[in-house]
Amino acid sequence: MNEQMKKIYLYTRYERFWHWLQMALIAVLLATGLEVHGVFSLIGFERAVDVHDFVGLTWLIAFFFFTFWLFTTGEWKQYIPTTRKMLIVIRYYSYGIFRGEPHPVPKSKKAKHNPLQRLTYLSLAAVMLPIQMITGLLYWSYNSWGAWGLDFLTMGAVAFIHTAMGFGILIFVIIHVYMTTTGHTVFAHIKAMITGWEDVEKSATVEEWEAR
């Protein structure tokens, strides 16, 4: 760490646990989901279905805890979208980063996410993942649709959305994993998500709106 850096405690224990648990769940779900889809053959269709169902339900339950945590701790505010500095962040990643410029929106305890992250994580946590969980739950319980008054659904429609969202998450994973390497060192962000301590520049000032 160079002299202009300081450490701040950014990610609490639960947050980090949740992140890595979710990572593991998504990894297993992606792998088994693609196997069921017929992309490759690894553990066999039947076991892939069993694991996918079990892990999917586990995720659904764990996600309730995450939602509870999000609202009781007020952390949901981190996900409020904003357009301010959005263009500057985009400019940074497509230009400034190559010139060694500092990140225009430094991280702080009260603003963990830059405007791009806010938008991405909000659409992920509030739209894509819930859709994926709901369609997954429906997919799993398709024999009960009649009893639940959901006869209007078709397997094809549910499967289409579930598959599309699955690929959406795969694309997110690709970009997300790459973005972790854009810290001041390649593994800086990953280390922060493990230890909770993020390196930020000493001189960095946090603007009012970012700290709300």
Partner: protein, 533 residues
């Protein structure tokens, strides 16, 4: 802190993986619910017989003809003949329709020996449960006799030697008859099999799942009948009420309701659900199939697993002679591939069934129906469609034939095959046998003979394999060449894809990967170190 977090991640992953192994292990330790239910339902409680027929006074007499034996039986079993006279086994007519249209003795046709010509055909009638075809009344011993006996020959010999005054031989024959008459059983596999294993004019011709291999099958061939397993007789499932044996599939299903014995202990045991219930598997996801997929579809992976079954029959090739004599040519499996009297055949073993939606009914043509000879004619086909309450995906043997039809009337025609010196099997004359056959049926025959391709279906339901041999999910849930490839109108995971979605999604994923790679290369190229140089 770091180690602890790692530990949590590892434990979570391990828990997920352990789950699947654990379920696997549990499956092996205790039987699936449906298996446990069936075992309870299937407990054998020894011999229920309360009578020894060798002690019956009525049977201690000299029998000179078949009907005399029947009379002796009826002197105690007084309702048996009336009961039997209403059954399909006696009438060869569907008990579910009025009139004489549907049934072997009616206008029904198939694509094997085609028709019994209202039971005038001698060979066909040899399977009838009467003493002499449909003459001379019921032969109770056809189904209840433990001895294997050619009764017609036996009584012929008896009369012959009696007239000759050969008392010793006469007594010997009479002793054999008496022994056979007092050897009374519930119908055994031999009783049922003597006809049902030989349908279509030979062993394993008609059914791919009913042949002589079932007389002493291994458990691996038939998990229920295996002599090294449950050792069921036919009547264990084909339960009977007033001599009506359950399980006949014509225009009406074998069972109208899928009930387990728990729901109705007097229901016929003819369906799998009767003993195994509709939720037989331990794994809930597999139970989710039972409203759409028949048990047979996965649990009878192939039919004709012991003996080869006949799959095609081309009548148009019949009638070739060698030196003026009919001949037989044998091929693979030591089965005939050519018979002058019948035409050419092909035989197959370990046949993968064809799968159709099936509600338990089979629709069949009669000799009165007009056909379209420009297409393959479905002489019989399964009835049912997706979404119907009783319909399931069910495995079938589909038998192909090339069989005679009337080119003018566009009907399937019924040649007389065997009757003294008149049938095709003696004369090899289509015109003669067809005009005789159609006259018996009282149906028009233009004299214009053609041959038309036809199919005939048999639901595959016997020879259920042990669970280890049940089909793997991928047999159906796969992209190409899955067993349910021909069934459309529904989305099946693993089989069905949305090509546009797949191409689009993979395109985007690859684009994203390329973008981050390019971005990374850009960063490396423009890294501070480089810039300073």
């Amino acid at each position: 802190m770091q180690t602890r977090l790692h530990l949590i991640c590892v434990i979570t992953l391990a828990a997920c993986l352990a789950f699947s192994w654990q379920t696997q292990a549990a499956e092996e330790s205790s039987p699936a619910p449906g298996r446990a239910m069936a075992r309870q339902a299937g407990i054998m409680s020894g011999d229920w017989t309360t009578a020894d027929h060798s002690e019956m006074e009525k049977l201690q007499q000299t029998f000179e003809s078949g009907p005399e034996i029947t009379e002796a039986c009826l002197s105690c079993h007084s309702k048996a003949d009336d009961q039997l006279s209403h059954t399909i086994h006696w009438k060869w007519l569907s008990p579910y329709e009025d009139g004489d249209l549907i049934g072997k003795a009616g206008y029904s046709v198939n694509n094997f020996c085609i028709s019994t010509n209202k039971m005038e055909d001698q060979k066909c009638s040899s399977c009838h449960i009467g003493w002499n075809g449909k003459e001379d009344g019921i032969n109770c011993l056809r189904c209840h006799g433990g001895a294997d006996m050619d009764w017609q020959a036996q009584f012929k010999d008896y009369q012959f030697f009696k007239e000759m005054g050969e008392t010793e031989l006469v007594e010997e024959i009479q002793a054999d008859i008496k022994k056979a008459v007092t050897d009374i059983t519930r119908p055994t596999r031999q009783n049922c099999g003597s006809c049902h294993f030989n349908g279509g004019g030979g062993e394993a011709v008609k059914h791919g799942d009913l042949d002589a291999s079932l007389i002493k099958p291994k458990r691996s061939l038939d998990v229920h009948m295996g002599i090294d397993g449950q050792d069921f007789s036919c009547t264990r499932c084909h339960t009977t009420q007033e001599h009506q044996v359950s399980g006949r599939v014509y225009s009406t299903p074998a069972v109208s309701e899928r009930k387990s014995l728990v729901e109705d202990d007097l229901a016929p045991k003819i369906s799998c659900e009767s003993c195994h219930t509709a939720t037989p598997h331990k794994d809930g996801k597999i139970n989710d199939h039972t409203d759409m997929v028949a048990c047979q579809s996965c649990h009878i992976p192939e039919f004709a697993r012991a003996h080869a079954t006949e799959m095609t029959w081309d009548w148009s090739e019949a009638g070739k002679l060698k030196d003026g004599e009919p001949y037989i040519e044998k091929g693979k499996y030591d089965r005939p591939v050519y018979k002058s009297i019948k035409g050419t055949f092909t035989w197959e073993k370990d046949v993968v069934p064809k799968y159709y939606w099936y509600n338990g009914s089979v629709a069949a043509l009669t000799a009165k129906d007009v056909i379209d000879p420009s297409k393959t004619v479905r002489v019989s086909h399964p009835v049912g469609e997706r979404g119907e309450d009783q319909s399931r995906i069910f495995p079938f043997k589909v038998h192909w034939a090339n069989q005679p039809y009337d080119k003018v009337n566009n009907t399937l025609v019924t040649p007389l095959l065997s009757k003294a010196n008149d049938g095709y099997w003696k004369t090899f004359d289509w015109q003669d046998s067809l005009s005789r056959g159609m006259e018996i049926m009282d149906l028009p025959w233009s004299g214009e003979l053609g041959f038309v391709e036809t199919t005939y279906v048999f639901p595959t339901t016997h020879m259920v394999a042990p669970k280890e041999q049940a089909l793997d999910c991928r047999a159906c849930h796969q992209l190409e060449d899955g067993r349910l490839e021909n069934l459309a109108g529904f989305y099946m995971p693993g089989r069905d894809h949305f090509p546009m979605l797949d191409y689009g999604a993979w395109g985007l994923a690859i684009a994203a990967l390329a973008a981050v790679l390019l971005h990374a290369i850009g960063r490396i190229m423009a890294s501070p170190g480089k810039r300073e140089e």
